[in-house]
């Protein structure tokens, strides 16, 4: 009797081991910051497209801006024994546990677009500081190194906001003639930034010469306020991300410039990295920075 049970038990073990190997494609878990953000959506779309070509099964979930949720999602991926994880972090510090847990479990993890304190196996993104730098340089050039600038920030404390602020401040230091009139948060939101800009127009009136908005939604909101006040011609507005609406606005001659963050490339490259890591291949470059492109009216 005991022998029979033992044989049955061993058969199951072997069977399960075999069935695992039966899988012919990779499974990759993806946790995105927020699917309500257009840019992040584009990254996710790019991931899906690349995954299809590479015959990879993708499990995409939305962390809804919550680090806690994100960590839980990664834990779930770990217990599902995925082959790799692609993480679009919510927060620098608070999303770090997700990275640590994945590494502890031996599952390769790739960060896309934003960074975390804990270093992942690979990172694909753009240098946020670079985008702000480029934007401010455009403004500096337009104003010939001298003039009044307003800055609209994203959610205070988020990695993107911190980096973009850093990049902008560097340019201010470089051109002493550039004056920062005021800097407030528009919370990445179009309507909020519009109200903010309306109030600033009351405060500063014609003193405003340029506006740097850390993302396109806020830039478009500020632009709307300027257009309503008929001041858009005299104010140079630049923002970051390169979403469709922004590009259209530039083409129509309203928004002065936007810095395109290549969502397509971020998606496809991070998938490629994840696949290579899952296949235990050796990777050459673990930090891939995709440059921003200036989009201006020709």
């Amino acid at each position: 009797m005991k022998i029979r049970v033992l044989i049955l038990f061993v058969a199951c073990l072997v069977g399960s081991a075999c069935s695992e190997k039966k899988k012919d494609h990779l499974v990759i878990g993806v946790s995105m910051l927020s699917m309500q953000n257009e840019f992040i959506q584009q990254v996710a779309d790019a991931l899906e497209k690349s995954a299809k070509t590479a015959n990879v099964e993708l499990i995409v979930v939305d962390a809804e801006r919550s680090s806690l949720k994100q960590v839980e999602q990664v834990e779930s991926f770990i217990s599902q024994q995925v082959d790799a994880i692609i993480l679009n972090p919510c927060e620098f510090e608070a999303s770090s546990p997700a990275v640590e847990k994945a590494q502890k479990a031996g599952i390769p993890i790739v960060n896309v677009n934003s960074s975390t304190k804990s270093k992942p196996d690979a990172f694909v993104g753009s240098d946020d500081a670079e985008s702000a730098n480029m934007a401010m340089e455009l403004i500096a050039k337009h104003l010939n190194g001298k003039g009044n600038v307003l800055m609209i920030q994203g959610y205070m404390g988020q990695a993107a906001q911190l980096d973009r602020e850093r990049g902008a401040k560097a340019v201010f230091a470089k051109y002493p003639g550039l004056k920062l009139l005021a800097s407030q948060t528009g919370e990445w939101d179009r309507a909020k930034s519009m109200s903010l800009m309306e109030n600033w127009i009351q405060s500063f009136g014609d003193q405003i010469q340029a506006v740097f908005a850390q993302n396109d939604e806020m830039g478009l909101g500020a632009l709307q306020a300027l257009m309503d006040a008929k001041k858009d011609a005299q104010v140079y507005v630049v923002s970051v991300d390169g979403i469709q609406d922004a590009r259209k606005s530039v083409e129509q001659g309203n928004l002065d410039a936007t810095l395109i963050q290549n969502a397509e490339k971020q998606g496809s490259e991070s998938l490629r990295m994840a696949v290579e890591l899952a296949q235990k291949k050796k990777i050459k470059e673990s930090n891939i920075l995709i440059p921003f492109e200036i989009f201006q009216k020709k």
Binding site: R190, A191, Q224
Partner: protein, 313 residues
């Protein structure tokens, strides 16, 4: 006249509003300009319309947490219907308002038929609504809107910005509805003592349904206005707006227990919050401090109003 003012339930918040205006007026010369006054009214128009609508619900003893979501859905609907070169503007507006009323009716039906507390029901429809907005818009903002829609948000009519005209019309309509009609009287009665109103012959369920329809209608109007102002139909619009609207209603003197409240009070509450927001930006206070100060001033206003009411007795 003086007696009438002092005895009115909105005397306290009116004084608070005046004080806050004087405060900002003294801190910056930019505050009391006609342009700035216009900006403030423009900015509060969306919140005001939302707040007017929900005032009825709160007076009737209920609450509506789905306002922000209904606003977003309506904004998306009007954007979809006002694409450049598609339907005439008025069709889009009409259908959106009807949609708002339908969503409000959904809320009302659930409240009346299921006996589940309105807080829970509208918490649920708040989430459903947000999902519907995302579904309809496929998650992205909708642009390329009809020029005439933008006019509603940025244009002028008879010397006043259109949003302010919307604000005035909504105020007058709601004020008349609440104070001069049978419906308004019934709303107050139900909020004051629902059982007694029922026994007295008031068709309670019917009235309750209608207050939610009104709330939905005005949420749709607010959604149209917001979309017109930012020239995009945004599925994420209106996040947290229900809290601002309800705060304005409460600050304005309407009681959460129901039976008591005025549209004038709501307007004053909306202005109060709007003035503070505008003033703090004008004197360039940091965003963090703005939150703290706003919360502090609101508490102060409510406490002062409470003292004022006590003094009256």
């Amino acid at each position: 006249m003086k007696n009438l003012f002092l005895k009115s339930p909105t005397g306290g918040i009116f004084i608070a509003l005046v004080l806050v205006c004087l405060l900002f007026g003294s801190l910056t010369s930019r505050f009391f300009t006609p342009m700035n006054m216009s900006v403030i009214l423009n900015q509060v128009s969306v919140n005001a319309i939302l707040a007017f609508g929900v005032t009825f619900v709160i007076i009737a003893g209920g609450i509506d947490l789905s306002l922000g979501s209904l606003l977003a859905v309506s904004g998306v609907i009007v954007a979809l219907l006002s694409q450049e070169g598609s339907y005439a503007l008025w069709i889009g507006l009409l259908l959106t308002l009807l949609a708002g009323m339908a969503m409000g009716a959904f809320n009302g039906a659930l409240v009346v038929l299921t006996k589940v507390p309105p807080f829970i029901v509208t918490l649920g429809t708040m989430t459903i609504g947000r999902g519907v907005a995302l579904l309809l818009s496929k998650g992205r903002p909708i642009s390329d809107l009809n020029e005439s829609l933008n006019f509603l948000g940025s244009g002028d009519m008879m010397g006043l910005p259109v949003p302010i005209i919307f604000l005035i019309i909504s105020f007058v309509f709601c004020q008349l509805l609440l104070t001069k009609t049978v419906f308004g009287r019934y709303v107050k009665a139900i909020g004051g003592n629902e059982m007694a109103a029922f026994v007295a012959g008031v068709r309670v369920n019917r009235i309750k349904l209608w207050v939610y329809v009104i709330s939905g209608l005005f949420a749709a109007l607010a959604g149209i206005l917001l979309t017109a102002r930012i020239n995009t139909g945004q599925p994420n619009a209106g996040l947290g707006f229900e809290l601002d609207a309800i705060a304005a209603v409460i600050i304005g003197g309407t009681s959460t227990r129901g039976g008591k409240g005025t549209i004038t009070g709501t307007l004053l509450g909306v202005l109060f919050i709007g003035v503070i927001n505008n003033g703090l930006d004008l004197i360039n206070v940091s965003a963090y401090w703005q939150q703290v100060i706003m919360g502090g001033i609101i508490i102060l206003a409510v406490v002062l109003d409470g003292l004022y009411q006590k003094m009256k007795k």
